[in-house]
Point group: C2
Chain length 386, copies 2
């Protein structure tokens, strides 16, 4: 006898709509939810009371939507003031909203935690359940985040493809900028593009480590002298030894200035200092909006997280986020659990220091074991020359 | 009783190796060619006498190679001096090379034409056959160039995907930089991403037309005010009204300076002048190295061109390039013909002035009819919000 609202927050992922499907199909089998509304453009849609009746959608619409990248509801990066949380709760109260499902990353989980806290303070019965979503994979307390496997696979395939081009037409240094803000999860995954030792990427930098320009140039020079080519995978949030984005045009990021196009800047600097032909590519948003290279498990897990959010509601939980748990030891499978929102709202899970290897080295066995089932096999491209 | 050599030239395409397959399978059935060698890294491999015996490759190797992007032989951008052409002919003579198949764009066809001319002058019997290849689609005398359909489809899909992201998370101006040097064929094809009138791309600029910054800003502002978002498709070779790349870092291009990252520059300028949130993406080489979004016809036509090159040799031709001819009137099919090298070596086929429409307008019916069979259908992504 109550309304449920689902809203998306932050940047979309290739599988955010699979989570939506999971919520809808499971909520249909949970009688206390008499109506499920999707907020148009995230929290903005709640404040403006612009909703989509999700139970009214046909099976075929939901099936099509679930396979589409980018949020089917629309999303928002808005951060709520206390006054806006009050207004949101007033809207919930007026409409008898008793379940709030919020799909997002750590900033969004902080918003969810605030909403849950203010509802409790106001003695308004509201179950708030977070659904994890971020390609950056920097959410704490979950094995990984839905969206990450797809983005990681996209960039690993992109580096393989650009690497094949660089191998066939050498004498060039190629910078490939990958997403991930200031967490190294995606850039680390580009190592899956390698089959032979001299395959791209030849250098991988973790944004958790500051990178002196001198070191970068030395590394590139050394690879180039050996192979007559070089492909560098670099995260959009990489900073130099002063904590600056190498003098690039920048915008505010979560931990200082974020370059607007870091690879471009590194390409220019390398051309100037090493006098080599350089290029840079920035697939950018394509890494979170393309389904060209789908991850084998990501879609299913995103849907699972959507279902688990309604399970959590049925179990009477609130103030929690659904988390993925690695279930098996010898083969890969994932189950879900619930973790308190405050445990994820205030932290960012960076790429573990112990898993970071040297720029030109193989990936650590720990990361290989962690990421391989998420990313799947990446077939190398055939070629004939030696 | 004679040797044939196949070499690749210039930037690879997603289907250059399908042409290779066509040459090998057809040459095996043309007895005068007793051996077919692939030059490693293009013309460099000939001068250094580094060859791959293509008749020695297994069916399965050739099948794998034919489906791989990036040149399986390696390629080169080297331009030959007259002395180097002499050396190349001396090598041909010493090895009894009587057939030379050269896969490339207009610059490469000039090289092929020079080689054919100098062989004739030296009374050395050599058949020189060009095989068309360029994603830029700027080769004259052929309906289109193998490689173009794949790159065009890639960028149309990329704009659709980035457009879906921009629609779901609006309040942003998004520049997508596409390949094509200074020819507008690829940027024009991004219009296939549109299904509804307000779908991305909202603005398409043809590099054949100079673009005053003031006009760009006015166009963007107008779209943004109407839709609260804007996706701009811009060619890497776009120039401003002074014939400059908008003050971007640049490198020498075929018609003046080519920006190293034009979309980045336009994104910065737009943010400054219009005070909007902007981004830029540059899938770059991915557009010629990815097989994520294969064109329905490109691979088959590339293979066809490879076979037709050997047909031309068998017919006694030399100094010609294989061209694609649109065969049917009511349905699409392509045949091949031969055109004299000098007719393609010295010209660049720009996007026709009569087919260029205003930046925010639909594509011209002429271009739609021309490109639709090459690019195929592009399914829009489902979404629920209005």
């Amino acid at each position: 006898m109550a309304l449920a609202i689902l809203a998306h927050s932050g940047g979309p992922t290739p599988v955010i709509n699979a989570s939506l499907l999971g919520v809808v199909e499971r909520a249909r089998r949970f009688p206390p939810i008499t109506a499920l509304y999707g907020a148009q453009f995230g929290i903005d849609g709640i404040l403006e009371e612009r909703f989509i009746d999700l139970f009214a959608q046909s099976e075929s619409t939901l099936a099509a939507v679930s396979r589409a990248p980018a949020s089917a509801l629309g999303t928002s990066r808005r951060e709520l003031t206390a006054a806006e949380v009050e207004r949101l709760l007033a809207i919930f109260r007026a409409r008898d909203v008793r379940y709030f499902f919020y799909t997002g990353g750590n900033g969004s989980m902080r918003t969810a935690w605030e909403i849950a806290g203010m509802a409790r303070q106001a003695s308004y019965e509201l179950q708030v359940i977070g659904i994890p979503k971020t390609i950056d994979n920097d959410l704490a307390e979950t094995d990984h985040s839905p969206g990450y496997p797809s983005a990681a696979r996209f960039f690993a395939c992109a580096v393989r493809d650009i690497g094949a081009d660089n191998r066939a037409l050498p004498a060039q240094v190629e910078f490939v900028e990958v997403l991930g803000r200031d967490a190294g999860w995606i850039v680390a995954a580009t190592a899956f593009a390698r089959r032979e030792p001299d395959d791209a990427p030849h250098l991988i930098y973790f944004p958790e480590n500051r990178l002196p320009l001198g070191q970068l140039l030395e590394d590139v020079d050394s690879v180039y002298r050996r192979l007559n080519r070089c492909v560098v995978a670099v995260c959009e949030g990489q900073l130099d030894e002063r904590g600056e984005p190498f003098g690039a045009d920048s915008r505010p990021g979560s931990r200082g200035q974020l370059a607007m196009n870091l690879a471009h800047r590194l390409s220019i600097l390398t051309a100037q200092k090493l006098n080599r032909k350089t290029r840079s590519e920035k697939p950018g948003l394509l890494g979170r909006a393309s389904l060209a290279y789908p991850s084998p498990v990501d879609w299913n897990e995103a849907r699972l997280c959507g279902r688990a959010a309604v399970d959590a509601a049925e179990a009477g939980k609130s103030g929690v986020m659904v988390a993925l748990v690695r279930a098996a030891v010898n083969s890969y499978s994932a189950a879900t659990a619930c973790v308190p929102l405050e445990q994820v709202a205030f932290s960012q899970k960076l790429f573990p220091a112990a898993w970071r290897t040297a720029p030109g080295a193989e990936m650590s066995p720990e990361f290989a074991a962690y990421a391989a089932p998420l990313i799947g096999t990446i077939e190398p491209h055939a070629h004939l020359f030696c």
